[in-house]
C-alpha cells in the first residue's frame, strides 16, 4: 500500500507545539485526518504541501518529495490545497481562479474545465466576481480550482468548517461525487466525525501532535486496536448522540442498518468496493 501511496514522517517544533507523526495512506481514496483543535492537523497538511518545513521524509508513489537531502518546493509538488476559507484570488473572476492552476499545468492537463464545471455545478458562476459568492459557492470554486491544477495529491483543510448547516449539506454531495471519480489520494482534515464517517475510507486520529490511531474506516478505526484513551477522546470531542452512535459503529466496524430512527443511515454509507 505504501509503495504507490503516501509515506510520511515528520517531526519538529512550532513554538510550544511539537509535531511527531508517521503514517501511510493509499494511492486512491479519502483519508480522514481527525483530531481536536490544535492537535496539529493543519500543520501536518502544510508539511505535506511543503508550505511548512519540518524534518522528516515524504514520498508519493515512490517519488521522494522530502528527505534529509531533498525538499521539493510547493509549486513543484502538484499537491493542491483547499484552505478552510477558500482563499480565492479576489482580483480574478471565478473563471480566472479556475484557470489559474490549469494554465500552469501545461499540456498534460487530463482534467478539463468543462468536466470540473459540470462536476461541481459551476456553470452559473463562471463570470462572477469572487466577492459575490456564498460560502458554499466559494468552497466549490476552491475545490474546482484545486482539481484543475491536475494535482497528484489533494489536501482539504476543513473545507466545511466555516459553513452553516445548509451550505454543508450543499457541498457534501459534491465531495462524495469527488470520492467516486478521483484517482488520486485525498487527505481530508476535519474535527467533525460525522463528516469524516461519510467520506473517508481511512481514518487517522491525531492528538497533541501525534498520530494516536489509524486504519481503514470500514474495519473499525484502528482494526480493533483502539485504546481507551482514543475512545475517550473521540467521544469527548463529539458529544451529540448521532455522531456518538456513528463513532461506535465505526469503531466496531459495523455499517449501521436503518432500524434505529435516531441513526440516519447516510452517516456511514457502505463504501464502493473498488476504492476500499
Amino acid at each position: 500500500m505504501a509503495e504507490d501511496g503516501i509515506e510520511a514522517r515528520f517531526s519538529g517544533r512550532l513554538g510550544e507545539f511539537r509535531l511527531d507523526v508517521a503514517f501511510t495512506a493509499p494511492a486512491r481514496g479519502i483519508t480522514g485526518l481527525f483530531g481536536p483543535s490544535g492537535c496539529g492537523k493543519t500543520t501536518l497538511l502544510r508539511c505535506l504541501a511543503g508550505l511548512t518545513r519540518m524534518d522528516g521524509r515524504l514520498s508519493l508513489g515512490g517519488e521522494v518529495w522530502q528527505d534529509a537531502r531533498e525538499f521539493v518546493p510547493p509549486h513543484r509538488r502538484h499537491a493542491a490545497y483547499v484552505f478552510q476559507d477558500a482563499d480565492l484570488f479576489s482580483h480574478l473572476s471565478v473563471r480566472g481562479n479556475l484557470e489559474f492552476g490549469l494554465r500552469r499545468a501545461g499540456t498534460q492537463a487530463a482534467t478539463g474545465l468543462d468536466e470540473v464545471v459540470a462536476l461541481l455545478s459551476l456553470e452559473g458562476l463562471l463570470a462572477r466576481s469572487t466577492a459575490k459568492l456564498s460560502g458554499g459557492e466559494r468552497q466549490r470554486v476552491a475545490i474546482g480550482r484545486a482539481l484543475l491544477s491536475q494535482p497528484r495529491l489533494l489536501l482539504l483543510d476543513e473545507p466545511l468548517a466555516g459553513l452553516d448547516a445548509a451550505a454543508k449539506a450543499e457541498i457534501l454531495p459534491y465531495l462524495e461525487r469527488l470520492h467516486d471519480t478521483l484517482a488520486i489520494p485525498v487527505i481530508h482534515v476535519s474535527h467533525d466525525l460525522a463528516e469524516i464517517a461519510r467520506l473517508a475510507d481511512q481514518l487517522i486520529v491525531m492528538k497533541a501532535g501525534r498520530v494516536v490511531a489509524s486504519g481503514p474506516c470500514k474495519a473499525g478505526v484502528v482494526g480493533g486496536g483502539a485504546t481507551e484513551d482514543v475512545r475517550a477522546m473521540l467521544e469527548a470531542q463529539e458529544p451529540d448522540v448521532v455522531t456518538g452512535l456513528a463513532l461506535a459503529a465505526l469503531m466496531a466496524g459495523l455499517a449501521p442498518v436503518g432500524s434505529s430512527p435516531a441513526f440516519p443511515t447516510s452517516l456511514v454509507p457502505p463504501r464502493s468496493p473498488r476504492l476500499a
Binding site: 504541501a49 511543503g50 508550505l51 518546493p73 510547493p74 509549486h75 513543484r76 509538488r77 502538484h78 499537491a79 493542491a80 490545497y81 484552505f83 482563499d87 484570488f89 479576489s90 482580483h91 489559474f100 492552476g101 500552469r104 499545468a105 466576481s129 469572487t130 466577492a131 480550482r145 484545486a146 491544477s149 489536501l155
Partner: protein
C-alpha cells in the same frame, strides 16, 4: 506666458519621471520590507522614512554635496564624462526620488503586508513559482497601494520646494519648477502671474485628492 508653460511642463516631466522610477525601485524594496522577519529590515525601513522628518534643506544640503564635483559619486561617474549633477535636471530627478521614497514605499509595503502569506501559498500549491506568484497574484492584489503610491509621489514631487531650491538652483528650462517660479515671481512683485500658478496648483491638488478618495471608495467596495 510661454516661460510659464515651460516651467509647468518641466515640473510635470520631473514628477512623471520620478513617479515612474520610484514605482520600479520601491516595489521590490516594499516587498522585501513587508516579508522580511529580521529586525534589520526595520533599520532599512527607518532610513527610507527619513525624508518624512528631515527638513528638505538638510536633505538638499547633503544631496548637493553628494552630487557636486568633489563627491566620491562623481569620481565614479567621471569615466562616463559626468563631472557634476548639481544644478542639472538629472540631479533634480535623483533628489526627488530620494525625497519621495517614503511616500512610495509606505503604501506599497502596507498593501503587501495586508494581503498576508495566504494568496501566495495558494498560488504555490497551484503550481506558480515564487516569481510567477509575485506578478500574477501579489502585484494585482497590491493595486490600490501602487495607485496611492503613484499619486502621492507625483503630487509630492510637484509640491517640493526646499530640495529643488538647494540642488536645482532654478535654471530656466533645466531646473526651474513651478514652486520655485512662484517664489521668484513674488520676489519680483509679479503678483498676477504668481496668482495664476498658485491657483493652478490649488486646483491640481484638489483634483488629485478627489481622485484618490474616489478610487479608494471604488477599491474599498470591490473587497469582499
Amino acid at each position: 506666458m510661454s516661460d510659464l508653460a515651460e516651467v509647468v511642463l518641466l515640473t510635470l516631466k520631473l514628477a512623471g519621471l520620478t513617479t515612474l522610477i520610484l514605482l520600479v525601485l520601491a516595489t521590490p524594496l516594499a516587498w522585501w520590507l513587508a516579508r522580511s522577519k529580521g529586525w534589520w529590515s526595520e533599520v532599512v525601513a527607518a532610513v527610507t522614512a527619513l525624508p518624512i522628518v528631515l527638513p528638505p534643506t538638510v536633505l538638499g544640503f547633503y544631496l548637493l554635496i553628494a552630487l557636486g564635483p568633489k563627491s566620491p559619486l562623481m569620481y565614479l561617474l567621471a569615466p562616463l564624462g559626468v563631472r557634476t549633477l548639481a544644478f542639472t535636471f538629472a540631479g533634480l530627478v535623483i533628489g526627488s526620488v530620494i525625497y519621495s521614497l517614503p511616500f512610495a514605499v509606505q503604501p506599497i509595503r502596507n498593501a503587501f503586508a495586508a494581503m498576508g502569506e495566504r494568496p501566495l501559498e495558494a498560488a504555490a500549491t497551484l503550481r506558480a513559482s515564487p516569481l510567477d506568484a509575485f506578478f500574477s497574484v501579489a502585484l494585482p492584489l497590491a493595486r490600490p497601494g501602487l495607485l496611492t503610491a503613484a499619486i502621492l509621489v507625483f503630487a509630492h514631487t510637484i509640491g517640493e520646494f526646499g530640495v529643488v531650491l538647494m540642488i536645482g538652483g532654478g535654471i530656466p528650462g533645466q531646473t526651474k519648477v513651478v514652486s520655485i517660479e512662484i517664489y521668484q515671481l513674488v520676489e519680483a512683485l509679479d503678483w498676477g502671474r504668481a496668482h495664476l500658478l498658485a491657483a493652478g496648483l490649488v486646483a491640481f491638488a484638489f483634483a488629485v485628492m478627489l481622485f484618490t478618495f474616489l478610487m479608494e471608495r471604488r477599491f474599498g467596495r470591490m473587497r469582499p
